[in-house]
């Protein structure tokens, strides 16, 4: 019994010592510019990342590129797993078209290919299709590249790719009931025919109404597979059955642990640009993807050079940059951003009132969110599209909007309060459904605090993942929902504020938008720049309606080891072709040995 008081006293003394040691005058530490808010602010990276010039070193063969990834591979057959979840397919198989690497950071640097959802025909280059034509709206002809072989494994045994393979693959994706293309675009699938008009010529015909969908899906969202695999095994869902024309062969997969891809020595492509122009690809012997669900473990693996590449959140990026200056990095605003959707369709709801929505918008201090919460490492205007090189024509920076639109995004609590009163809601109770994660809760807690000052009491209804996902996909929520938008590749459908998809979470049904949408469809698949112009012109109106409460969006970071060459921070080499950074990359084995001894 006498031991209890002794331990209690010792514990109290230790705690007091810790408390006294930690108590000290606050000091303001700033690494850059930013708003000071009652104390010290941690300033993060605010400057743009260093431009990584095209590689001038002669590429070398060999080595293994190691990724750290958070989630497991969800599947190996696009007919059963969505394209953007079947990650190994982008290494083992190929599509008709992909991003033009020569116009990327390794070449002319017109584009940086950081957004995964980039899908513009005017920046694509032929992959399995050497070239293509659009004779008229509704018809597309692909000239299949000759001399391309499938990987040399049974039952395909390295035979040449022909037009029939393209026909087979595309028809399969348009008819298999569980295929994303079939399930998501039934009208397009019903209206489209794919035929081989020669050994190396494929013609795709569809209706004018579905031409935009067809051009955005079939050329660069559908991998070409050999029919023998399906005829022999039924499908490609078993990783051992994977076979394609891609630069790598799937040689091992341990669920929840690792994926191994080895070089396809029979790969057709050569390096199109740079000091390695004309070299056979790939340079790497192999590529590994380590599945590390825990974020701190991934960062630790990056810091200790167990992995060569890792995606990093904005809050960890500053730490890595400061303490590991040899690491290379790139940052961008991801094209799917989180916003607060509102039920604007319910006539009896205050959220159907424009003044209420505008007041809620003015009631959020975006600048504080950007400068204080994110330490300046964020952008305010990210809806309905984010800023990017590829879609520069479709994006309008906040400072270029008309003044009345810019004013909506300035923090004006008094004006917001007055507007609410004018609308007949001097006080308001609202509920928002979100996913119960710290990142979402933190943002909404701040919004709640901001809105308290304008007389709005926000209840945060944090749900578990399944419930939140259901609310999101079915748009089944009462007042507000915190969810994400569609990627930039669908901007031409105005999907984030038009239509019946989950991404029109605010149930917008506006005649002006419909008019612009109808006009836009005439140019879908034909004239990307015209679509940019139509989108740019409608944006001021869209933003003035405040159909969503945008969120100041932090940057996403990629970090990679300095011995990884000919990689520039791109996310994908095609439309949602994740984990393809290794296709053109090479490892400087000497440098690696110098730095880490192996």
């Amino acid at each position: 019994m006498k031991k209890h008081p002794v331990w209690l006293v010792l514990s109290v003394i230790i705690i007091l010592i810790m408390a006294l040691v930690s108590c000290k005058q606050t000091t303001t530490t700033t690494e850059g510019t930013g708003t000071t808010v009652k104390g010290q602010i941690i300033q993060r990276v605010t400057e743009t990342p260093p431009v990584i010039p095209p590689s001038v070193e002669t590429p070398k063969y060999g080595g293994t590129f190691v990724y750290a990834r958070e989630t497991d591979i969800q599947g190996f057959d696009e007919a059963f797993t969505q394209h953007f979840l079947a990650d190994t397919l982008h290494s083992t198989n190929e599509e008709l078209l992909s991003h033009d690497w020569t116009r990327g950071p390794a070449g002319t640097a017109e584009f940086d290919y950081q957004l995964p959802g980039i899908n513009r025909l005017d920046i694509k280059a032929g992959t399995l299709a050497e070239s293509w034509e659009i004779p008229e709206r509704g018809r597309m002809i692909f000239h299949i590249r000759q001399g391309v072989s499938f990987q040399n494994k049974p039952p395909v045994n390295g035979r040449e790719l022909v037009a029939d393979d393209v026909v087979y693959s595309l028809n399969r994706l348009m008819t298999e009931p569980r295929s994303y293309i079939k399930a998501g675009y039934p009208a397009m699938c019903a209206a489209t025919t794919v035929t081989a008009t020669g050994k190396y010529k494929v013609e795709i015909k569809t209706s004018e109404a579905e031409f935009g969908n067809m051009t955005s899906l079939l050329p660069d969202f559908a991998n070409i597979i050999p029919h023998e695999v399906i005829e022999t095994y039924g499908d490609m869902r078993d990783w051992k059955n994977a076979c394609g024309t891609g630069p790598f062969i799937l040689s091992d997969f341990v669920a929840g642990s690792a994926v191994t891809l080895t070089r396809n020595s029979n790969y057709w492509r050569t390096d199109p640009v740079g000091p390695g122009k004309g070299n056979k690809l790939p340079y790497l012997d192999s590529c590994k993807m380590l599945i590390i669900p825990d974020m701190s473990a991934r960062y630790a693996a990056l810091r200790t050079a167990k992995v060569d590449w890792c995606g990093v959140t904005w809050d960890e990026a500053a730490n890595l940059r400061k303490n590991y200056p040899t690491l290379k990095w790139a940052k961008f605003i991801h094209d799917t951003v989180y916003v607060i959707y509102m039920r604007t369709d319910k006539a009896d709801s205050p959220l159907s009132n424009l003044k209420v929505r505008q007041a809620l918008t003015m009631g959020v201090d975006y600048t504080t969110l950007k400068d204080v919460f994110y330490g300046g490492d964020a952008q305010i205007m990210c809806w309905p599209v984010v800023q990017s090189k590829e879609y520069a024509g479709a994006y309008v920076p906040l400072e270029q909007y008309p003044q009345e639109v810019q004013d909506l995004y300035k923090y004006q609590p008094e004006k917001a309060r007055a507007l609410l009163a004018e609308a007949g809601y001097p006080s308001l109770k609202l509920t928002i459904v979100c996913y119960n994660t710290p990142t979402q809760v933190d943002v909404l807690s701040q919004v709640k605090a901001f809105w308290e000052k304008i007389g709005v009491d926000l209840t945060i209804d944090a749900k578990d993942y399944a419930v939140w996902t259901a609310a999101m996909t079915r748009r089944s929520y009462d007042q507000m929902l915190y969810s994400y938008t569609s990627g930039i590749g669908t901007f031409w459908k105005m999907i984030n504020y038009n239509g019946t998809s989950q991404f029109n979470g605010s149930y917008v049904n506006d005649p002006k938008v419909l008019e612009a949408y109808t006009e836009m469809q005439k140019y879908a698949g034909i004239d990307e720049k015209k679509m940019d112009e139509i989108h740019r012109n409608i944006l001021p109106y869209v933003l003035s309606q405040c159909w969503v409460i945008t969120r100041t969006t932090p940057y996403t970071y990629y970090f990679w080891q300095p011995w990884v060459k000919n990689y520039y921070g791109q996310t994908a080499n095609g439309y949602y072709d994740y984990y393809t950074a290794h296709n053109y990359a090479w490892i400087d084995l000497e440098l690696r040995k110098q730095m880490i001894g192996k």
């Binding site: 108590c23 000290k24 606050t26 009652k38 602010i41 204080v372 919460f373 945060i460 944090a462």
Partner: protein
């Protein structure tokens, strides 16, 4: 004997007899005298209640007042326990978190105590087939791990203060009913119960007037023990994201925010210390109350520390005789 001598004599005699206080005051006095750790525990519990009740007065800021300091500011004179990643004062959040712990602890214990008493008393007193059926249901309930039941129910009903309190109360109530039942069984065969039955006292009256007062001791102990357990359980489910909805602070919920703990140790330390101290205090109080109230631990001389009831009666008789004589 003179009046003065009589008074002096009776005073001397009465000094030998401990004063009779009401039950709770007597308990409090013995707690302070005999159980210093329990007293500390009691003080901690009292402080918890007071902090919870007067949270708006004690906390310098609101629990969701953002950027009252810089994000992740170290403890200082302006912010005694530092700030979190959105500039909220941690001390204020700890104080408001005490309110949550108080609500959940008190609420869950109260519901649990009522439920345990109801189930245990009925099951123990009535006995027979009723007892068998009820106890088998309790057995089945106790087969499931508590956290599993908690998470399942919270996933169904959704997070919320009321939901957490009720679910925890039911969980502990059913489990604790066994203890109450065994106490009821041990006293139901006492003579005074038989006498009550013999004179035709209805069951409800017997339970209320004879059984219940005699099982108060274990109920009080259960109450305090379950309070500590409820606070810990609430911390656990908040840690897992099923507890109190944000941004209402709860100590467990604050502990679950691990993203910044490497760079801001105070985010983990203060809620952890608060939780540890409160649970420690409640457990110490519960231990002390158990020692004081358990008849098996009173010793051969009973609760009056050496003075038996017989001796007290004898002394009273002597005083009366002395008074009459004089």
């Amino acid at each position: 004997m003179t009046e003065g001598a009589r008074v002096a004599g009776s005073t001397e005699i009465s000094k030998a007899i401990p004063k009779h206080y009401p039950f709770f005051i007597d308990l409090l006095i013995r707690l302070v005298r005999q159980k210093p750790l329990g007293t500390v525990g009691g003080v901690i519990v009292l402080v918890l209640f007071l902090v919870g009740i007067f949270a708006p007065l004690l906390a310098p800021f609101g629990f969701n007042e953002i950027y009252v300091g810089g994000p992740l500011e170290q403890p200082s004179l302006n912010h005694l326990m530092g700030t979190d990643n959105i500039g909220r004062d941690l001390f204020s959040r700890i104080v408001y978190g005490a309110r949550i712990s108080m609500y959940v602890g008190l609420g869950a214990s109260t519901i649990g105590a009522f439920l345990a008493t109801a189930i245990g008393t009925i099951s123990g007193y009535i006995g027979g087939k009723t007892d068998i059926v009820i106890q088998r249901l309790v057995d089945a309930w106790m087969c499931f791990p508590a956290l599993f039941i908690l998470l399942t129910v919270m996933a169904i009903v959704g997070p919320g203060l009321v939901q957490v309190t009720v679910v925890l109360g039911i969980l502990y109530g059913i489990g604790s009913s066994r203890i109450v039942r065994s106490t009821v069984i041990s006293i139901k065969n006492n003579t005074y119960i038989e006498a009550a039955r013999a004179i035709g006292c209805p069951v409800s009256k017997t339970l209320l007037r004879h059984v219940l007062p005699n099982i108060m001791a274990p109920i009080i102990i259960l109450f305090t023990i379950n309070m500590g357990a409820a606070i810990l359980a609430e911390a656990s489910i908040s840690f897992l994201g099923f507890g109190i909805p944000p941004p209402t602070p709860s100590w467990g919920g604050m502990l679950s925010e691990t993203r910044f703990m490497l760079q801001a140790w105070w985010l983990a330390i203060w809620p952890g210390i608060a939780l540890s101290i409160v649970v420690y205090g409640i457990n110490m109080l519960g231990d002390a109350l158990r020692d004081l109230l358990d008849p098996r631990l009173r010793g051969g001389l009973g609760r009056y520390g050496g003075v038996s009831k017989k001796l007290i009666k004898e002394n009273k008789r002597q005083i009366a005789r002395a008074t009459i004589k004089n």
